[in-house]
């Protein structure tokens, strides 16, 4: 420290002293104290970070799960089929299951039933059981 010689000769002459003492074993214990503080701080910071985050994370996760379930619900085979596939399927089913004879019988049966209904109405109207006086009152 030659530079002090000219600037501050008295200071230059002074012997340098370590004038501040520490408690006994201070430097033996300090590394352990620091490590303990680091560990407790890390535990605290994890706890402080986790709780408030969970308060928000749980409802948000719930909303996300519900939204995913809604938008990704399983689609049926019919919905997944293309238009062409559906047309082909219908054509095939019609060819296989459509029986014209059966249809004709069905139509005849239906007509007969409806004709029978008409006849029964006519019979009713022509029957003597109608009370003409009552009918007039109603009209």
């Amino acid at each position: 420290m030659e530079e002090l010689k000219n600037i501050a000769p008295n200071l230059h002459k002074l012997p340098k002293q370590d004038a501040f003492s520490t408690p006994e074993n201070y430097f033996d214990e300090l590394p352990g104290v620091i490590q303990e503080r680091i560990i407790s701080k890390e535990k605290k910071s994890i706890f402080q970070w986790t709780l408030p985050t969970l308060k928000f994370a749980i409802p948000v996760a719930g909303v996300i799960v519900v939204a995913l379930m809604y938008f990704n619900k399983p689609t049926s085979d019919v919905e997944q089929a293309t238009q062409n596939e559906m047309t082909a399927y219908v054509d095939q089913q019609v060819d296989m299951e459509f029986d014209e004879t059966l249809l004709a019988e069905e139509l005849n049966t239906d007509n007969t039933e409806s004709l029978d209904e008409v006849s029964s109405v006519e019979e009713y109207l022509l029957s003597d059981e109608i009370d003409e006086n009552l009918l007039r009152e109603e009209i």
């Binding site: 008295n10 200071l11 340098k16 004038a19 501040f20 003492s21 430097f27 590394p31 620091i34």
Partner: protein, 181 residues
Amino acid sequence: MAVHTDTELLQMFRSDNSSYAFNLLVRKYQKKIYAHVRRIVIDHDDANDVVQNIFIKVWKGLEKFNEDSELYTWIYRISINESLTFLKKKRTKFFIPIHNIEKEMSSKLDTDTSFTGDEIERKLQKALLTLPEKQRVVFNLRYYDEMPYEEMSKVLGTSVGALKASYHIAAKKVEESLLGH
């Protein structure tokens, strides 16, 4: 115990031995850092708090330390910042005007049983307390730690010329105080 180089400590820290390496790092630097902090804050309990906070910050920052600067330069920078922040907080906490905290520390030098220096050393420490904080830091780094100006420049982010000027002024003031002016 063998003293490891900073490079070795960093390599060890980045392998699986981070806690062990950090412990070695604390043991390597604790005395220097404590002495530096104690000269700034004077009281042992205050110095103890500040030193612990410094090493906790070192632990937190060590993972991201990119070796642009020397490890010890970086630790010194943290030490100075923490020490000055401590004094600033003390002033804000107790609403103490700037000169009173130095008066308080000066009185502490008279009563503190852990101050083991002689009368001239006490006078020197009291003279240092009359300097502006940053001038005091420059003086301590140069006079006690004998840090080269180039290193000081890296620690404090100030030019070598400005540091030389600052040390010159500080030394002159201390000399005058020692002579009783």
